[in-house]
Each structure stands twice: as C-alpha cells, then as structure tokens.
Amino acid sequence: MQVSATVNGQQRSADVEPRMLLVHFLRDSLGLTGTNVGCDTSSCGACTVLVDGRSAKSCTMLAVQAEGAEITTIEGLASNGELHPMQQAFHDCHALQCGYCTPGMIMASVSLVDEYPNPTEAQIREGLEANLCRCTGYTNIVKAVQVASGGGS
C-alpha cells in the first residue's frame, strides 16, 4: 500500500507492505540510511527519529502509521551546510566513537532539549535512558547535551 509523509521537509511516498516498519521505509524505501537499527525489541534507540516534532523509535511504528506525518531524520538536522548545535556539540565534546548509536542519540537529545531547555544532569541521564551507547560510557554524551543546551561547560 501507498504511504506518503513529509520527510526532512520533502513530500515522499512509496509502496510498502502493510507490515513494513517505519525504519525500513526510511532506510530501504527512501534510502535514508542514517537512521540505524540496533535491536529488535525497541530497546536501544538507534532508530530514533522525530515524528511530528517528538522523538519516536522508528522500529516501533509501522510505515503506514506515519501516513501524513512530518518526520525528521538525522539527514534533515543540519541546515544550509551548518551542523545543528546538537551535532556540533557531539563533535566538540567527543560524544561519539563508533557512531552507530549517534544518529538516534542526537535525535533523542534534540527532543529532550526541546522538552527541557536547560536540563540538569539527572534529567539528561533519565531522558536518554531509552538510548544505548556501548562506546562512550555516556560521560561525554551528557556533556554534549549540556553544551548544546547552553547549560554546561
């Protein structure tokens, strides 16, 4: 069946199986491979995107549930060649190593700061609880979110 959605500001549509997950629609149908898959139980958050402005794990949604939605993926975050402040902060603070969790972690962080503009360390840690990273031990991710939200050094 046909699914149409606004993805990174562009109207996109594709013919999909009803059972297709949103993450596979983004990756396989639209070629937006920045959104990664890290598990099969909606535990790791590598596939986090923004759906109508709020973070969502794109492996927990069917593509057909995104009909008419506005979706932002990691590819849509930078604008005019400028990194989003969260992307820049992840780079500046060495908040990524292998980078596989990074797109989902950044999208979740953007959503977190949207909800809590000046998050405390505890709010950041709890807010990112659903996104797993195996490389960084989270120390520099927390720092990056603090920097991007203007709250930390």
């Binding site: 199986e17 059972r19 297709m20 596979h24 990756r27 937006l32 491979t33 920045g34 959104t35 990664n36 898959v37 890290g38 598990c39 099969d40 139980t41 535990s43 790791c44 590598a46 993926t73 990691i74 590819e75 975050l77 930078a78 990194l83 992307q87 992840f90 780079h91 500046d92 060495h94 990524l96 190593q97 292998c98 980078g99 596989y100 969790c101 990074t102 797109p103 950044i106 360390e121 950041i124 840690r125 709890e126 990112l128 609880e129 659903a130 996104n131 797993l132 990273c133 195996r134 490389c135 960084t136 031990g137 989270y138 120390t139 520099n140 991710i141 927390v142």
Partner: protein
C-alpha cells in the same frame, strides 16, 4: 632525533577533534546494512532450537514456496556442494593435543548449541528470508546437553559425543609447583577464593552483517563485512573456501563497535562467500539483535580459584591459580587462547617469589566464547584484585596498605622488570597511581562518611573499592606469539607517502571501528613531519587499499600500528632530507629538519618545506644519483616486547540494604598508558571501558537454563546499562612512557574494562563487610545482595 619532533598545532598531545565525526553525526557514514548490490539475495538462517541434537529430517517444502524465495539449502546439501574445503578456523591450538572438533558453517548432522545453523534460505528481501527461515521444519533427536561449566567438569554427558570427554586442553604456566607449595606451607596468612566470571554478550550497537559480491567473469569476489579483522578474514576465506587469496577483497565499511565480537571468522561470512561464488549473485545477511546472542561469540565464562600465601606482614610469597574456562560448543578463532591472555597477569602489579597458573578448557553445548574487551585480562585483574582485598581483611590492614606493601619495585618507578610469570614489564610506577586516585576521590573523607553511616545504621551503606591493574598491550612480538602456538604474527604495516601536491597519504593495516585512528595517525604525522593534520588522509580497512595488516584488537593499534606509521614517516623524512640536500648542494649531514622545513645550518635563507618536495620527487627530473622517484616509504613493525599499561581505579557505591539495590555513585580512574597522542580520545576509551566492566559487576549476565537455552537474548532483558545507571566517569592520568617502542605509547582500549569490574565489586563487598559478607557473585543484582544479607542473618 630531536629534529623530527617539531610540534605543530594538532600534533601528538593535542585534543584534536576527530576527523571521523562529520559523516557519523550527519548519517552519511555507510555501515554494512547501508550497502547494497543489484540483484542481491538475503540469507535467512535456520538455527537449531536445541542445544545438542541429531538432525533427523529437514522439510524445506513450505519455505521454498514463500514468495521471493530463491532456494533453501540444508547443511547436508551444502556439504555436497563443496563450498568450503576446511572447517572454520581456530588460529590458536594452545597445546599439541588440544581437541578441536570440526566447526562447519552449516552443520550437516548434529547441532552443538542453540543457534548452530542447520539450513539457510536465500530470498529477495530481508522480510521474505525471515519468513521462509521460520517455515523450515527440522526434526531433531535430542542428545544430552552440557549446559554449564560445572556440568562440563563432571564429564558425564559430553558436548561432542565422539570426543568422549569435555576437556579440550590443559595449559600450565607453573615452573616450580613444589616451591609454590612450600610457600603455602610456610605462610602466615593464606587466602583461597573462588570467583565466577559469568558469560557476557559483547553487544556492539551495530549487529554484524555481510555482503559478498562476486564478479563471475572476472573471477574476483568482494566481501563487505562488519569486521575488526579484514586482513585476517582474507587469509581465512582463502583457507576455508579454497578460493585463491589474491582474488579475494575484503572491505570493512564503517563498523559500529566491536569489543572483540567482530574479530572472529564466522559461519555467515563463509556462507555468503561460498553461495555468492557458487550462484554468481550478491548474497547478504544482517543479524538481528536476538540472533546475535547465538550467532556471535560471547565473552568470559570462567570458574576461577585463586590462592594467596603471605608472610605475617601481608607480603605475598606465592600466588596459585586454577581456571576452568568455558569454550562453548566450538573452538573459534582464538577461543582456547583467550583465557590464557590473562595467564601472565594473575599476580597483578605485585611482587611474589612464587607463581603458578593452570587452565583447563571445557566444551559445553553453549554459544562459543572468544575475545571480549580485555580478553583474559579483566578476568585476571578481577581475581587478583578481589583476592588482595580478602588478604587485607585476613591481615587486618586497609586495602590501600596491602597494595602498597606488595607493589612491584616497592611502588617506585621501574623499567624492564621481569615479572613472576616471566614477562618483562616495560615500565611502571604504581605508588603515585594509587596516591592520585585516592586524593581525587577524597578517600579519607569517604571512609569517614562510611563510618558515620555505619554508626547511624543507615539503610544506604557506602562502599569504596580499589583496584590497581596492569595489562598487556602491544600485541605482539611475533616470536612470542609463536612460542604460545598462536597461528599468526603480531606485526603491523604502514605506508606513508607525500603526494605530488604535497598532501600526505597514510596507509595503515590496523582497522578502526570507533577508536579514531584517522585522527590519531594524522597527529603522529603532524608531529613527525611538521604538517597540518588536515593535510593527512588515512587509508584503511580495505585489503585492496591496504593489503598488509594485522588489524585491531587487544589495544594494539597505537603501540604497533601507530609506531609503524611513525617509523615510516622517519624513512620519508630521511629520503626527503637527501633530496633537500641535493637541491641545496649541501651534505645531508648539514641539513636540519624543523617544523616541516629543511634548511642548511648557518644559512637559513635556504629552506624548503617537506611538502614542497613531493612534486620534485614525483617529476623525478632532478633527483640525486640512485634515488628512486616519489616519497613513499613503508615499514612493517614487529615489536620486541609487549607494553604494560596500568592504573588505579576507585569505585564508590551505595548499597540499599533494604532493597539490595547497588548504585555506582562515583568512579575515579587514574590510568597510565604511556605517552598520549590524543588525550580526548584516551579519556573516551577509559569512559566506555569503565562502564563495560562496571556492567559486568552490576548488570550483565548471559543466563542459560538447564537445556542450554539462553533466557535473555534481547536487550530487553540483557541489561546493557543506559546513561541513567552510571555516573560521570572521572579520569586522570600518570604518564610513564613505554620502553617497548620509540613513541613511548602503551594502549588504552581495554584498560577501563580491566580495572572496573574488580573496583566495583570490591566496593560492593566493602559496603557489606560489617555484615560479614566478603564476596558476592557477579552481577551484584538486588536479588543477590538481599539474599546475601538474609543469609548473613540481617534484614527480612
């Protein structure tokens, strides 16, 4: 040579932001599942649901009728197709008589663990491949299951029926057992402790995957694999499939973490190559997370018995260790050797006149084990560092004091010191490491707060745990590996070239998967050659671009691969010096090199930058007689000794005695990895390593039931910690350069993991000590803590 140590911005020692990040923070990076080939077929693996069973029949009819299915092949059919000429390789037969039952990519007759592949489906999409694999009907005749190491040791039921025993090998490093026993007989204090190293699932965030692309008419084949070891893989693909090695190209694209899980040679890789070559079509597979628990090796899996003998002052007189190690169902690449990587470290940082180590390897009907971050060394540091805390209790002194009394060289600085296990420790300085860690954490204040809580009978008790670890990096001198019966060398290759336009190209045989090699190697070149690190590009992870390499594991990249790059840069500089001298009409001996420029002593007006010489070397119009064109030099560096990083970690935990909940509230790591190239990257390695080790102490455990079924294969119930479970990791360093290489570097990729499980468990046991609880099995879950308190007569 001081003249090659110019210090431009961004060189050795700088916190240079990583070159790797841009493509990773924007989603442009290409991981294995992002790469496709036209006409590709997806593999769907049919995996055994039984831990040990004979396959009596396989019905593929329903699966074959699923739309989009190309074919369904059983193990017996695949065996007849001749896709491979040898079983999957084990490169480390640790003894001459080690048992090594054949491990075929798809088993033709008997499944030896849950997840052993029994058939494979090829289909046009990942969904159809998964559907069809589910529809293959396999009938099994159940066989007796060896579901634990304890059961393997009983040796009543056999994991491989035809072997007649579960014991795969006995390996000993026990030069003087009588002397050791005499030390125990004469000891004023002894400790005898049993520890369990539970099985762990490495769980890099990117699952493994493969894509094999044949060129049917060209006779070549490209295998893309999410691997740490493309160079090792190339050799092993040739050895296993019989394809000519020179026709095989391996590419490791962006790889999303490894931690050892991606250093193996796997059934899926040989299936993809064999089927792609047979069909003339691209063949791919990406493991699911739950599948990964069975299709990718696990780590640890040991029962440890460590005994300490000491005099009346707590000074060690002997350390004796017996390990039983769980191999799992098959010997994979370095399965048997992994526990032995720790064998030389079970005396830790301590001086002891007597040392003995013995390890028995046992087969079980569980997923094979192999290297996981630290690979043998976290197990060793855990055993000795937990045992030293028990010795401190026995002697009646503090955990800091027992360590000080026993540090090698009395805690003073040393170089090239022979250890009790017979290695030569390159350099160390353990006393200041402990001092610094205790100062940063505020040790005395914490002890005071601990006493206050104990006196007040508060619910949340404080525990403080120390660990001074030493590890082995710089793997490895090839001769030493030969002596250990390892099947390959430990060198690393590098090429450094100045391109005609003056930019620098580095080719490295080490293969990053998150470590930041492109940045680090650029910094080495920047310092050596006096150039901007932005002018340096690093080629790696593709056997066509970088044909020679030994890849990345064991914290070896900098201490072997980075050193090779520095040495290749020196050769380029030396050749460029001769070219500059020719241009200056001067003797090479009179030509200085500083900040990237050659000049003649006393005549500073004559000067040429090394990057400018690239074009002259390329045109070759006016070279000195006998000089070959181009500035391109290569080095294969084989270290003469290992490197021995060390450090002291302090964990602080709060244990809620009512709920059993353990919270890690502070963690201070003072590490010494010798010279640091990029301190920001070093800190990041420590942060992540510490959390992985702490996770072994508190959360992670691959739990099998009595039928050999893994009960927690998904990330829902295999508890990889999130940001909410861990504190900010506080890092600091001492710097004791290695004597094993000219850069003075040691390695840091595994240090955090090697120090942290022991530090955290020492803290947990310290908190519970007033209740008479001095040991707990990992992970220290709330249930285990409460049970221990209740068994000790406390709470209800």
């Amino acid at each position: 040579m001081t003249d090659t140590m110019a210090r431009p911005e961004g060189g050795i020692g700088a916190r240079l932001p990583r070159k790797e990040d841009a493509e990773l923070v924007t989603g442009e990076a290409r991981f294995i599942d992002d790469i496709h080939a036209p006409g590709e077929l997806w593999m769907g693996m049919v995996r055994s649901t039984m831990a040990h069973a004979r396959i009596t029949s396989i019905d593929t009819e329903a699966a074959a009728s699923v739309p989009g299915v190309h074919s369904v092949l059983t193990g017996a059919q695949l065996a007849d197709m001749g896709l491979w000429v040898a079983p999957l390789p084990c490169a480390w037969p640790v003894t001459d008589d080690m048992l090594n039952p054949p491990h075929w990519p798809v088993t033709p007759d008997v499944a030896h663990h849950v997840g052993d592949i029994v058939a494979v489906v090829l289909a046009d999409s990942r969904y159809n491949a998964a559907d069809a694999a589910d529809m293959v009907v396999v009938d099994y005749e159940p066989l007796g299951v060896v579901a634990s190491l304890e059961q393997a040791r009983e040796d009543q039921i056999h994991a491989h029926e035809d072997l007649g025993t579960n014991k795969a090998y006995t390996w000993a490093l026990d030069p003087d057992p009588e002397g050791t026993q005499a030390a125990f007989d004469a000891a004023a204090h002894t400790v005898s402790a049993h520890f369990v190293q539970q099985r762990l699932i490495p769980a890099p965030m990117e699952p493994r995957g493969v894509l094999a692309v044949p060129a049917p008419h060209g006779g070549e084949l490209t295998l893309y694999s999410a691997t740490q070891v493309p160079h090792v893989l190339r050799v092993m693909v040739a050895a296993t499939t019989g394809l000519p090695e020179q026709t095989i190209r391996i590419i490791a694209p962006s790889v999303g973490g490894g931690f050892g899980a991606k250093l193996n040679i796997n059934p899926d890789e040989m299936l993809a190559v064999g089927l792609a070559n047979h069909l003339g079509l691209p063949v791919r597979w990406t493991e699911s997370r739950s599948e990964a628990a069975a299709s990718t090796h696990q780590g640890r899996g040991q029962l440890q018995h460590i005994e300490l003998a000491a005099d009346e002052n707590g000074k060690l007189t002997a350390v004796r260790v017996k390990i039983d190690a769980d191999m799992g169902a098959y010997m994979m690449l370095i399965t048997p050797g992994t526990p032995l990587l720790g064998s030389f470290l079970y005396h830790g940082v301590y001086d002891t006149p007597h040392f003995g180590f013995t390890c028995d390897g046992w087969f079980t009907n569980l997923t094979p084990t192999d290297a996981y971050r630290g690979a043998g060394r976290p197990e060793a540091s855990y055993a000795i560092e937990r045992a030293m805390d028990l010795l401190a209790l026995e002697v009646g002194i503090g955990p800091d004091e027992i360590r000080r009394r026993n540090y090698l060289a009395g805690g003073e600085a040393f170089e090239n010191l022979e250890s009790a296990a017979g290695l030569v420790f390159d350099s160390g300085h353990y006393g200041p490491s402990l001092d610094k860690a205790m100062e940063i954490v505020g040790y005395d204040d914490l002890r005071a707060e601990q006493a206050r809580r104990r006196d007040a009978g508060e619910t949340k008790q404080l525990g403080i745990g120390l660990c001074t670890y030493v590890e082995i990096c710089g793997l490895a001198p090839s001769r030493a590996l030969g002596g250990l019966k390892y099947g390959a060398g430990g060198w690393e290759h590098a090429t450094v070239r100045i391109l005609p336009t003056g930019k620098i190209e580095v080719v490295s045989g080490s293969t990053p998967h998150g470590q930041g090699h492109e940045t680090t190697w650029s910094q080495i070149i920047a310092t050596k050659m006096g150039v901007d690190p932005a002018d340096v590009t690093v080629l790696h992870s593709d056997t066509a671009l970088s044909p020679l390499g030994m890849d990345t594991y064991g914290s070896r990249s900098l201490a072997v691969g980075g050193v090779a790059i520095a040495m290749a840069a020196d050769k380029v500089i030396d050749k460029a010096r001769h070219l500059a001298a020719h241009q200056f009409e001067a003797s090479p001996d009179d030509v200085q090199f500083e900040n990237g420029s050659f000049s003649v002593a006393g005549t500073p007006a004559k000067s040429v930058h090394i990057q400018e010489l690239g074009f002259a070397a390329f045109t070759a119009h006016d070279l000195p007689d006998g000089m070959e064109p181009n500035l391109s030099e290569q080095v294969t560096f084989d270290p003469t000794n290992f490197a021995f990083p060390f450090g002291t970690h302090v964990a602080v935990v709060e244990v809620d005695e009512e709920t059993g909940q353990v919270d890690l509230i502070r963690y201070v790591a003072v590490d010494d990895c010798g010279t640091q190239v990029n301190p920001q990257i070093v800190e990041g390695q420590v942060h992540g390593g510490v959390v992985q080790g702490a996770a072994q102490a508190l959360f992670e455990h691959a739990i099998y039931d009595e039928n050999g079924q893994l009960t927690n294969p998904s990330l829902l119930d295999y508890l990889v910690p999130s940001a909410a479970e861990v504190p900010t990791i506080e890092t600091d360093f001492t710097v004791t350069p290695s004597t094993s290489n000219p850069l003075g570097v040691k390695g840091v990729g595994e240090a955090g993991t090697i120090g942290s499980a022991a530090a955290v468990m020492n803290a947990v046991c310290d908190a519970l000590s007033p209740r008479g609880i001095h040991d707990l099995e990992m992970p220290a879950t709330p249930w285990r803590v409460r049970r221990a308190i209740e068994q000790a007569g406390g709470g209800s």
